[in-house]
Amino acid sequence: MRSARCSPNHVRMNQLQGKIALITGASKGLGRAIALAFAREGAALALCARGEPALQAVASECRLLGVEVLAVPADIANPADRERLVSLTLARFGAVDVLVNNASTLGPTPLPLLVDTDPQAFEDVVRVNLTAPFLISRSLVGAMLLRGSGVVINVSSDAAVNGYPGWGGYSAAKAGLDGLTRVWAAELAGSGVTVVSVDPGDMDTEMHRAALPDDDPTALALPEYVAPAFVRLAAGGALPARLEARELLEQVAR
């Protein structure tokens, strides 16, 4: 599995030059890797996360790659914060071409069984992982439609299609996110706006370590390895409503 830990050799292609991307949960893990991959391809970025120091650190790294970056500390579960994120992004860039709904939460860890899951904690997970992507997308999709182009990428999980003990709230919310993606895709068919769900696969992230502390991290892919798949998605083109990053990486490698 060593190969899975190595980033593929990266040649800057400026595949996202001139595009504006909004990425939630951008301060760490997959969100950070996507932000850096997009920056290497020339995209201007609006990045959001709750923790300001980590967010500013990623923003600085991206700026060093020569792109314009707006960092908005915000909790996407909070309606006023969502409006602030959307309005500040639009005020700075005038449009969003690519929205990556990446932010998500596991809820309490160690992961409780459903029978022990606190209803409020369950709802908090749904609010971040499902409701926020719904509403942030809704705020941005109309302008994409008016221009006849745009991509919304929802970060899903294999927990959306498989039942793992302890993953109740997360799993239900991610399955909901896949459903949301399908309905968006149907409602926007032919509009030029693409909405997709992507299962990035197991990665060595803080979230994975919190969920499965006994897993061997060296056996897991680094998020940097998966991020090029998101570049491919952000570049546009016809896509099915749900895919696994693995399939896309194979396409990228060819």
Binding site: P79, S87, G94
Partner: protein, 342 residues
């Protein structure tokens, strides 16, 4: 004041829409559509989602993509009194704003020249009244980033016929993408994505302008009746100017679009790209040169909005249309039904 306004039928309070269509159980694009056909001098009644039937390939719909801000901003006086500031002209480091009570009935509150206010941690100094519109206060802010300030401390501006605060989302058009309006450019609110896509599919063109709206009311009936005009910021892109100049028929979605396009129009009606403040008043004495048709919400005859309608429609026909709208229970204001003047 214009005499004609006084003999319109009184608008029953029940016809003031208190919430958006989707909260009344219908789709946003299923509001009523009053069609005023000027050529036939006729009034028809349709539904907004049938708009395509009344337009033709080659028509150009021009929408305002300005996004509404939560422009009712919570502030505190040195005395501790809570107030709401409603900035309607925003420049770097300064506002011209109404100052009202923080809750219904939102009556005007007089400030003192030189006094300081606080919005969160931000200090605001009252420089005085605007000489042309004395209800507006000239304020100095100790920050240039007033957008963050408004987004953190504001709520949507609300009038008394909307009894409960609604989320800002309720006020946005589906394509709202340039934050800056104090109030909703509401004529475009009934458009759904589906309807926009269907219109495009029928060969109707779509173009956009930006006009950041100011306030529709100074919370003072007598003062409002004098129709004070203040400047609003507009932007017309080269693409939109080109599309407008080539279109067979230009349909403005909202009076804000009329103001933007006419502000960018030469005397012979050619639109040139530009971005600036405008004080233009379109009315019977300054009829539209670039815009041919109009989609608009229904607003009370007393509103200054009405002057602009008189530039499009002969008074007798407009009066007949308004009477029919009241008779048939059309809903008025930003969450209400719609009218097409063609």
């Amino acid at each position: 004041m214009i005499a004609v306004e006084t003999d319109f039928p009184q608008l029953p309070p029940a016809l003031r829409a208190s919430q958006p269509a989707e909260r009344r159980g219908i789709r946003r694009d299923q509001v009523k559509l009053l069609v005023i056909d000027r050529k036939a001098e006729a009034v028809h009644h349709a539904r907004f989602d049938r708009l395509g039937d009344m337009l033709s390939p080659g028509d150009l719909l021009v929408v305002n993509t300005s996004r509404v801000l939560p422009a009712g901003v919570r502030a505190v006086r040195a005395s501790g009194q809570a107030i709401q500031l409603r900035p309607c002209v925003r420049r770097a480091g300064s506002w011209d704003a109404l100052c009202v009570q923080p809750g219904p009935p939102f009556e005007n509150i007089a400030l003192a020249e030189g006094e300081t206010l606080r919005i969160g941690e931000t200090i605001v100094t009252v420089a005085g009244r605007r000489t042309d519109i004395p209800l507006l206060w000239r304020l100095r802010l100790d920050t240039a980033d007033d957008l963050e300030l408004i987004l953190r401390h504001g709520e949507p501006i609300r009038y008394s016929y909307v009894p409960e605060p609604l989320p800002l989302d309720s006020y946005q058009t589906v394509y709202a993408s340039h934050p800056g309006s104090a109030e909703a450019p509401s004529a475009g609110r009934p458009f759904s994505w589906e309807l926009l896509a269907a219109l495009r599919g029928r060969g109707v063109g779509l173009a956009d302008v930006v006009l950041h709206t100011g306030l529709s009311s100074f919370q003072d009936d007598a003062f409002d009746a004098e129709h004070h005009l203040f400047e609003e910021w507009f932007e017309v892109s080269p693409e939109t100017a080109r599309a407008v100049n080539m279109a067979e028929r230009v349909v403005a979605v909202g009076t804000t679009v009329v103001r933007a396009l006419e502000s960018a129009a030469t005397w012979e009606g050619r639109v040139v790209p530009g971005r600036n403040w405008t004080r233009l008043s379109v009315g019977p004495e300054r009829p539209p040169r670039a815009v041919d048709a109009l989609i608009t919400g229904l607003h009370e005859p007393q509103a200054s909005h009405f002057d602009l309608l008189r530039a499009f429609v002969p008074e007798a026909l407009l009066r007949r249309a308004y009477a029919e709208a009241v008779e048939r229970g059309y809903l008025w204001h930003e969450f209400g039904d719609s009218a097409l003047i063609i």
